[in-house]
């Protein structure tokens, strides 16, 4: 398994930055001035680059065979592109509503992609599925709400907490999910 998903630790290495940056920005009560937003936007660009590299590696190396490699590629690719959109939105101070719409859009795609692991009978450990469920629907839905004008205290607090959980899920994927350390949950099939 470690050989098959070898690019996952690299992808996750970039993803931990924006998730932790947003968690910290919310709980440290940043005012989110343009300069602070630009700093966070750079972490989103880092996530885009590392996730795109992961997605590309899975297509080029084709470690599992066409269908499964595409699945391992499409999930990071969707997140890579949403982080690219987030980078441009926060760097240039653009209207965040399209970002929220896209987060809602990939929620469904990501949930179907997660279900495909079961349909294809890939023996991933349950912890990976739990990590993917934390990303979508819960984190992506939070991104929709917070970028669509629902910025009430409860919504912002929810996004802060879910960013922290998603950061923990990313660390889990980086080491345990990727096979660097042995999985601690049974396989799904």
């Amino acid at each position: 398994m470690a050989e098959v998903i070898g690019a996952v630790p690299l992808g996750m290495a970039g993803l931990i930055f924006p998730l932790f940056a947003w968690f910290y920005a919310i709980f440290a009560k940043y005012e989110l001035k343009p300069e602070e937003l630009k700093g966070i936007a750079i972490t989103e660009l880092i996530a885009f680059i590392s996730l795109l590299f992961q997605a590309s590696w899975h297509i080029i190396a084709n470690p599992f065979g066409a269908v499964v490699s595409m699945l391992f590629s499409t999930i990071p690719a969707m997140y890579a592109f949403i982080w690219l959109l987030a980078f441009f939105t926060h760097w240039f101070g653009l209207d965040p509503k399209p970002l929220g719409d896209c987060a809602l859009c990939i929620t469904i795609s990501e949930c179907i992609a997660t279900a495909c692991f079961f349909v294809l009978g890939i023996g991933l450990p349950w912890q990976v599925i739990i990590d993917l469920i934390i990303y979508a629907p819960f984190t992506t839905l939070g991104f929709y709400l917070v970028n669509h004008g629902y910025g009430g205290k409860a919504v912002v607090y929810y996004v802060g907490v879910i960013c922290f959980l998603a950061w923990l899920a990313t660390i889990d994927l980086q080491f345990w999910g990727a096979g660097i350390l042995p999985a601690y949950t049974p396989p799904i099939v």
Partner: protein, 163 residues
């Protein structure tokens, strides 16, 4: 933001200032309510070119203003229905998926509940026969309405005292 507007309009009393506003659906505005007017300053982009926009409404020109509420978020509702669909469909296709399917269906129900519970608030200011729609993040529209009410009451009580 209030300090910034105090520099911008030093001869007026700034009652309140607000950021990240959508004015008539255009994002990127800041706004303030002074003892004389409501002022919106923002940058809009068309074909990549930036243009500064200033919208100014004198307080005595405002005929009416109210906070309107959008009752349902259709996008969130559709996402909820789709999540329930994905959860049920794949649970039926692959029984091992059922625990995850239940979580998806639960999140879908949460989306449907939220789509009715979370209400988007807009402030509509009517002046000179026109209506300007302002949307903010969270409860900004309500805060702006109460600031505007306070400013108009102050102006009216001042006029009455003078007369």
């Amino acid at each position: 933001m209030e300090e910034l507007y105090r520099f911008l309009v030093p001869e007026e009393v700034v009652e309140g200032a607000f950021e990240n506003l959508w004015v008539q659906g255009r994002y990127g505005f800041t706004g303030c309510v002074t003892n004389h007017r409501v002022l919106f300053v923002g940058t809009t982009r068309k074909m990549g070119f930036e243009k500064e926009r200033i919208i100014e409404i004198p307080l005595d020109a405002i005929s009416n203003f109210e906070v309107k509420i959008k009752e349902r978020d259709a996008k969130l509702f559709i996402a909820g229905v789709l999540l329930i669909g994905v959860g049920i469909l794949f649970s039926l296709l692959v029984p091992q998926f059922a625990p995850a399917g239940i979580v998806y269906a639960g999140a879908g129900i949460g989306c449907i509940v939220l789509s009715r519970k979370l209400k988007k608030k807009y402030l509509v200011i009517e002046a000179k026969g026109l209506a300007l729609r302002i949307e903010g993040i969270g409860d900004i529209a309500e805060e702006m309405a109460s600031t505007l009410r306070r400013a108009i009451e102050k102006v009216r009580s001042g006029v009455e005292r003078e007369s």
